[in-house]
Amino acid sequence: MKFFDRDCSVPEGFFPLDNASIIYPPTEAKYNTQVFRMSIDLNIKIDRVVLQEALLDLLERMPYFKVCLREGFFWYYLSPNKKTPNIFDDDLRPCTRIRKQKELKNFLFRVCAGENRIAIDFYHCLTDGGGGKTFLLSLFVRYLELKKYDIKEVPGTIRCDGKIQPWETKDQFQEYFDRSLPPPDFVKKAFHYRGILAERAYFTSGSLEIEDIKKVSKGFGYTITEFLTSLLIQVFLEAEGTENKPIQISIPISLRKLTGKNTMRNFSMFVIVSINPKLGEYTFEEILSLVRLQMKIQTERHEIKRFISRNVSGERNFIVKTVPNFLKKPFFKIVSDVLGETQYTTTISNIGLVTLPDEISSLIERYDFFLTPNQKNPVSMAVSGINGKLFVNFSSYLKNDSLIERKFFKRLVEWGVKVKIHSNRR
């Protein structure tokens, strides 16, 4: 049994959490489910038996996903799960809670199959958006292989016939730790949009043509992420009662592209973009330029290293290491509040445009990505795209309040972008 070996390829008994996911299990609670969903809608019907087979094959290849979460004396850890995961009906809303759900048999993901849909809810402890995307696409590729489709090499997926590689389970954060670096500057408290919370999450999905949105964003001279972030900031600025507190948007950035290192575990950081209404009114162009500037500064190589070093130093602190887990749990909750939720107004996560070979992408109609918001920041937004379409998915805990979503899509329509809305606010 390999104890405390961070880079062990095959989890045996004890599989330590990566640096980013240490915070997730002790802070999981009502309105803090830490679940995200990735789903693909196909133009072919899904055969559940074959999908189950594909899932088992993939888990054989990726044993680091066939795990359950356990609470140790000092830390939470992952441990192999010998049970067989089930495929569920697609009759649940996205991102339903994963921890402590009996029917999931302690697995940290939930695969749902609809008539034309494969959807996977991931508990964030397991992986991040990048890893989730690879897992979902690998599952789909395996499914197609079993269905006798002629599939060649698909970039960004893992084939079941290969062997597990060390990079897949590596906690890449540890590579970037430098004790000598000063911590990042403290971020001010952000404005939090308030409202009556519902006992469940609501989702509103807007599908747009990428050409339309590109035309508008290129008209301003900015990328789609910068444009959508600025638009959301403006919508929040227009919301009543900002109390002159800064609107701060948290943008998760995958470090895979920035560092050139890959992993199937969490490997992302947050960029916080801030606009302070106390300084006066901002035009949309000013917001755009500030967003670009702040994103550039914070994704600079040294800043990334500083950010990662701060997070890893917490984990390596002697006191944190030696204090039992039951004492650390409340401490982590406070830390996640102070260094997390209080710092931002909402989250925008953009997993980008999914590019696949024609024989596969022609089968896919939609690629959706859903996040869960939290109690302090009850609205969040996830963006994904495939085959010339962009999907902007809002998730909200607010009861009977879709003001942010409405203003956001209405503004897009005013700019000539055609938007189609789907929602489970019925």
Partner: protein, 284 residues
């Protein structure tokens, strides 16, 4: 494909209203409704359990009480060690009750906590003295706090009822306090007349403030009125305690009360004088 005329967005076939603004959509019955993108949930799973912050407070309190118990058990070397141990345990129990059974309203939490505190005081008194002695006064004090400070929180819309409840609670409190020695004496002679005085004065001032010619009262008006009522009530208490024959030590209260009453009436009704004391008319 249906559109929302207000938001300008396309909608799913078959929806009857826009999910963003709630505007009704005219359904074309010829078009077959498409399969909804978000499945219709078979059983709506609601979020359950405690939120993160609540959980954190709960865990911290539990940890602190465990540490406190351990410290007491190891450091106190006396036969009375059970008392601090029990107290900490009871405090934690009260905290758990506040966080679980009692939430979410102030009324529920405060009521549960007062009941638990009463139980603790009675048990402590009984264990120490073998009878219920001082805890009787402590309990009725807690009860009057509940009647004055907690119960009105659910009666905010029934103001008349709240006023009657406050006066009656004060009366009952005085009787219970007086009955501590087994006989009713001062509560009937002094307490009742004083409360009657407070009631009459309060009603008079309420009437005065409701007159159409009275300007919108400010916080200072309320403070002065309460001060006047307190002065006259104390003075009247002195007057009642001498058998309504003469005033002894409370002469100063009467004078101060009369002085403030004249001032208050003047600033309420003389607009030109009021503007020197309040900023409302100063810039006209």
């Amino acid at each position: 494909m249906p559109y929302c005329v207000k938001c300008g967005v396309k909608l799913e076939d078959g929806v009857d209203k826009c999910p963003l603004c709630g505007t009704k959509v005219i359904i074309d019955e010829k078009i077959k409704p498409e399969k909804p993108f978000f499945p219709i949930e078979k059983d709506e799973k609601l979020e359950s359990g405690m939120g993160k912050q609540r959980k954190a407070i709960f865990e911290v309190s539990l940890l602190l009480s465990i540490i406190a118990e351990a410290v007491i058990a190891l450091s106190v070397n006396s036969s009375f060690v059970w008392f601090p141990l029990l107290s900490v345990f009871y405090a934690e129990l009260a905290f758990i009750v506040a966080f679980t059974i009692a939430r979410p309203t102030y009324f529920k939490i405060a009521s549960w906590e007062i009941i638990m505190l009463m139980g603790f005081l009675v048990a402590f008194d009984y264990l120490m003295n073998g009878i219920m002695s001082w805890s009787y006064i402590a309990c009725i004090s807690l009860w009057i706090y509940w009647a004055i400070g907690v119960l009105p929180s659910i009666l905010t819309k029934k103001k008349k009822f709240m006023f009657i409840e406050l006066i009656l609670s004060l009366l009952v409190f005085l009787v219970l306090l007086d009955y501590n020695d087994g006989i009713l004496d001062w509560s009937l002679v002094v307490g009742f007349p004083v409360i009657l005085c407070i009631t009459i004065l309060s009603l008079c001032f309420i009437g005065l403030l409701k007159l159409p010619s009275t300007p919108k009262p400010r916080m200072t008006d309320y403070i002065y009125i309460i001060f006047i009522i307190v002065c006259f009530s104390i003075g009247f208490g002195d007057f009642a305690s001498t058998g309504y024959s003469h005033i002894t030590w409370s002469r100063a209260f009467w004078f101060v009360g009369i002085g403030f009453l004249i001032y208050e009436i003047v600033v309420l009704f003389a607009k030109n004088i009021r503007r020197y004391f309040y900023s409302e008319n100063r810039h006209e």
